[in-house]
């Protein structure tokens, strides 16, 4: 890996906010948690549809403007009721 390659954690296609990850991976919070230390800073890449480490990188990287941990609102994925 080149030291100057921008990493996934700064990419707009990368989701690593804990609350969002738990919404995107149903069941994760039942017997684990996105707030757990074992997750480190991993997140979901929407380009490759993969769960990757924050220090990974690829040719499709696009820098995001918001901070990496700032949740991006997805109203359609936030129903009023759990069921």
């Amino acid at each position: 890996m080149s030291p100057c390659e921008p990493r996934c954690q700064s990419c707009r296609h990368f989701t690593r906010a804990a609350a969002e990850l738990e919404a995107l991976l149903p069941g994760l919070r039942t017997l684990s948690s996105a707030y757990a230390a074992v997750r480190s800073e991993d997140g979901l890449c929407s380009v490759h549809d993969r769960y990757v480490a924050a220090y990974s990188h690829c040719a499709a990287h696009q820098r995001q403007e918001s901070t990496p941990e700032q949740p991006q609102r997805r109203p359609s994925q936030r129903p009023a009721l759990i069921r």
């Binding site: 990493r7 954690q9 700064s10 919070r29 039942t30 017997l31 948690s33 997750r39 220090y55 009721l81």
Partner: protein
């Protein structure tokens, strides 16, 4: 892994700082809360005081009128305990960026439910009707979450792992360092055997069934090391597909819930001692929360079910030694090794990554450090007391209140498991992953039984005494 070139590149956002890690990860909040309670309790004890007033718990009862009497006489203590827990977990939730306006009302509901469950467990006929609190919490939660539309705000307070980790840190106060040093190597040996065999079985079966090696690794770690936490740690390290993670989550949760009911039931039928059953559960359950539910259930049989030898705490102690010390702490090593294999042996995914030994620390379940530190604190404070003095003053004044806090924290977790398990949310698993994982489950349960009841039976029986 960060180097000067990366830090100087404006296109690269900074990684989580050490301070950020300390306040944004629930492992650390479990340590602050659990260890904080232990340090305060120890300081008060040394000064002649105790936390036992606020560490209130229901007493045994046989008639509902006695419950009303207990509540009337101790309501101020129960209210104070609610405030204490709400403040501690509320601060933690705030650090995790969970909205307090949603968390606090949800936590009040959880506390009141836990109180009801705690009272139920103290009914003198509870064991007769198999009304063990962890099992009732799970069954009730499953029923509610899968039949009733629960309000969204309630989910903010259902943090299984946050409560279970806090409970495990508090559990460290009940285990002297000498016991951990004595039992730790055997737990590590037994857990290593089971982890390697189970991982090998699931991985080999998955490959034979033509599954992606990354899915095979994620499933293998989920079954062999630490359930969903093991699965996501390895998934991130090897760059697994999103659907691989979802499949692993569904399979682990499914089998873990089956085992919560099955392992105590079979152990009871076989009349296993609490220490032996705890070791088996620690070897063959997949997640800490699920295993503690099963172990605490079995510990509840001691003294209540004829033929069950050993102390009530032995099941939870043996489980924790086996699962936490024997299996959980190795998550980072598994992730590191498999990331090397992924880079060097498996087909590229289009995402470039690298393997580093730093992975071992990054993915270490840090709450284990709190568990060990808790044991160190209690060992130091109680050093020099004779056994008679320990029973007379240390146990009621220091250890017992911390055990009560632990039971509360675990009860919050058990309620949260059922209430967050919605079967309709499970990902479509597919036959091949199901077969591969299930073969591993069968081998794990059989081998775990042989190791716990035959090979190391004398050791675990002794622990229970």
């Amino acid at each position: 892994m960060t180097n000067i070139a990366e830090l100087s590149n404006p296109a690269i956002a900074p990684r989580e700082t050490l301070w950020g890690e300390l306040i944004h990860k629930e492992d650390w909040w479990a340590i602050w809360i659990g260890l904080g309670l232990i340090v305060v309790a120890a300081a008060l004890f040394v000064d002649g005081g105790s936390l036992k007033w606020i560490a209130v718990a229901p007493l045994k009862w046989s008639h509902p009128a006695e419950v009303a009497t207990q509540l009337r006489e101790h309501w101020t203590q129960y209210a104070a305990l609610l405030v204490l827990w709400a403040v501690l977990f509320g601060i933690g939730a705030s650090g995790l960026r969970i909205k307090l306006a949603q968390f606090l009302p949800a936590f009040v509901v959880l506390y009141v439910s836990a109180l009801g469950l705690y009272f139920l467990g103290q009914w003198n006929q509870a064991s007769h009707y198999n009304l063990e609190p962890p099992l009732v919490a799970l069954a009730l939660g499953l029923l509610l979450s899968n039949t009733v539309a629960l309000p969204r705000w309630l989910s903010s307070g259902l943090r299984v792992e946050f409560y279970i980790k806090t409970g495990i840190v508090l559990l460290g106060a009940s285990l002297p360092l000498t016991l951990i040093a004595w039992a730790g190597p055997v737990a590590i040996l037994q857990a290593s055997i089971i982890s390697l065999v189970t991982f090998g079985t699931i991985y080999y079966t998955s490959k034979r069934l033509g599954l992606d090696p990354r899915l095979a690794a994620v499933l293998g770690t989920g079954g062999a090391v630490c359930g969903v936490s093991g699965a996501i740690a390895v998934a991130g390290a090897v760059g697994a597909k999103k659907e691989h993670v979802s499949i692993a989550i569904s399979l682990v949760v499914l089998w873990a819930i089956v085992m919560i009911f099955a392992l105590p039931l079979v152990s009871r039928e076989l009349g296993l001692s609490t220490g032996v059953a705890g070791a088996w559960i620690g070897t063959s359950e997949f997640a800490d929360a699920a295993g503690l539910a099963a172990a605490q259930t079995y510990g509840g049989y001691a003294g209540n079910v004829p033929g069950i030898a050993g102390s009530a705490d032995a099941a939870v102690n043996a489980f924790t030694l086996m699962k936490v010390i024997g299996r959980d702490v190795w998550i980072g090593v598994w992730a590191f090794v498999l990331s090397i294999v992924a880079i060097s042996r498996w087909e590229s995914t289009g995402v470039q990554t690298k393997a580093g030994a730093g992975e071992i620390w990054r993915r270490l379940p840090k709450f284990v450090l709190g568990f060990l530190l808790a044991s160190v604190v209690i060992t130091l404070v109680t050093h020099g007391y004779s056994y008679a003095d320990y029973k007379k003053s240390v146990l009621p004044g220091l250890v017992a209140p911390l055990q009560v806090f632990r039971v509360w924290a675990l009860t919050f977790a058990f309620l949260s498991i059922g209430l967050t398990t919605r079967i309709r949310d499970f990902a479509a698993i597919g036959r091949r992953p199901f077969y591969a994982f299930t073969v591993g489950v069968v081998i794990n349960v059989i081998l775990g039984f042989i190791l716990s009841t035959q090979v190391f039976s004398a050791f675990w029986t002794r622990l229970g005494q």
